[in-house]
């Protein structure tokens, strides 16, 4: 009759046995124990697939795994946002084309025309120009209306890598609304996506403070 302790002693040798590293008396003793112990045999069987996978790994790669850079999440979100916009534009174009092509049916065309007129073949996005930028510096911003306020996509190039950029929107009577911050990194061609509570219809200017320089774009 086996005791729990006896099983435990043999069981702790199962790893070395599964790896083919047990020799001599220990091996003979363990094999004899396995003959009569269903539980330990089951435990050995559970280890074997793991042992079978070990040769595939490269121990030089057991060190810390590389982590994705923090801005990758933002870039993924921006890519998907852009994709969403592209799909909407394509649908709108298809819908517009349908309205033109469907002119033969006067009533249907009239109904579609209303949709096209109301639904906006017009792009609601506003592109902002930054006047009198110094040589070598490029700043672009596009503003898009949302129920929560305005979404701002910023593209900056030419300032030193690592420059902190602070963005605010200016309302009709000079009130300012923060849109957040981002950091320009050399080689990063993505847009920074920011948001502000100020409605686009009330936005008069966008102010970008990059390091100690301030740039103003009129909407």
């Amino acid at each position: 009759m086996k005791t729990r302790n006896e099983c435990r002693e043999w069981r702790e040798l199962l790893g070395a046995h599964a790896l083919g590293q047990l020799e001599g008396e220990e091996r003979v003793g363990l094999e004899a124990h396995l003959e009569g112990c269903l539980e330990c045999r089951a435990e050995l069987a559970a280890l074997e697939p793991v042992v079978g996978m070990l040769p595939h790994a490269d121990p030089a790669r057991f060190g810390p795994a590389p982590q994705p850079p923090p801005e990758l999440g933002r870039r993924v979100a921006a890519t998907i946002e852009e994709e969403k916009r592209r799909v909407v534009r394509r649908r709108r174009r298809a819908f517009g084309g349908l309205a033109l092509g469907g002119a033969a049916a006067a009533i249907a065309a009239a109904v579609l025309a209303i949709f096209v007129f109301q639904g906006g073949s017009e792009d609601p996005t506003r592109h902002v120009k930054f006047a009198s930028l110094p040589n070598g510096i490029s700043i672009y911003a596009t503003l898009e209306p949302h129920a929560y306020g305005t979404e701002i996509r910023m593209y900056v190039k030419g300032v030193p890598s690592g420059t902190l950029c602070r963005v605010t929107l200016r309302g009709p009577n000079g009130a300012t609304y923060s849109a957040g911050t981002f950091r320009y990194r050399w080689g990063d061609d993505s847009n920074a996506v920011l948001s502000s509570a100020l409605d686009l219809s009330r936005t008069r200017a966008i102010v970008v403070r990059a390091g100690n320089r301030t740039f103003v774009g009129r909407t």
């Binding site: 069981r11 702790e12 040798l13 199962l14 790893g15 070395a16 599964a18 790896l19 590293q21 559970a46 280890l47 697939p49 793991v50 042992v51 996978m53 070990l54 595939h56 790994a57 490269d58 121990p59 790669r61 057991f62 060190g63 810390p64 795994a65 590389p66 982590q67 994705p68 850079p69 990758l72 999440g73 870039r75 993924v76 979100a77 890519t79 998907i80 946002e81 994709e83 969403k84």
Partner: protein
């Protein structure tokens, strides 16, 4: 049979789902992409493209068929193949000392799983497996170096393999 993941989260039809999927799986996807492509810039591109393709095909994801993780890894696999082909057309030098893996992609995925599982088990367990299995050193020598009895090294090998099994199961491994 290796299957990845069992953490179904539903379709990627909303941006919130994508954010959640990114938070849950981007680290692993990126780790595998770096291992396969050997280039952190290309790996970032691969992860970005994976989530974009997942978003486009969000309606086709069915958690009843497989987990979100499995699905994302399947997309990444195709992306890595595409990027590998593109790279073959314009050779690049590996950066940051990371060598691209040269084995077939499924082998790379299996290898990456074991390496990731090794990272997740305790240092004591990993150490004895590296010394005795991968370096083939005698138990007595390893025991002396670690200042523990030989029996302890053997029991650590056993508990290390058990820990690996648990971690691999958490990662979706099935016999």
């Amino acid at each position: 049979m290796i299957q990845l993941g069992n953490s179904a989260r539903g379709a990627l039809s909303r941006e919130r789902d994508v954010r959640e999927a990114y938070a849950a799986h981007a680290g692993e996807l990126y780790g595998f992409a770096v291992r396969s492509l050997g280039d952190s810039g290309l790996a970032e591109e691969a992860v970005q493209e994976t989530f974009l393709r997942a978003w486009r095909a969000g309606d086709r994801f069915d958690p009843k068929i497989g987990s979100l993780r499995t699905w994302l890894f399947a997309i990444l696999r195709n992306v890595v193949i595409d990027l590998g082909r593109a790279r073959a057309a314009r050779p690049r030098v590996a950066e940051g000392g990371i060598e691209p893996s040269v084995e077939p992609l499924d082998e790379a995925l299996l290898a990456w799983q074991v390496e990731e599982a090794m990272r997740r088990i305790g240092e004591d367990h990993r150490r004895v497996l590296v010394e005795t299995y991968y370096r083939g050193r005698p138990y007595a020598e390893v025991a002396e170096e670690l200042g523990v009895p030989e029996g302890t090294v053997k029991s650590r090998v056993y508990y290390g393999l058990r820990a690996l099994r648990v971690v691999l199961e958490e990662m979706g491994y099935e016999d």
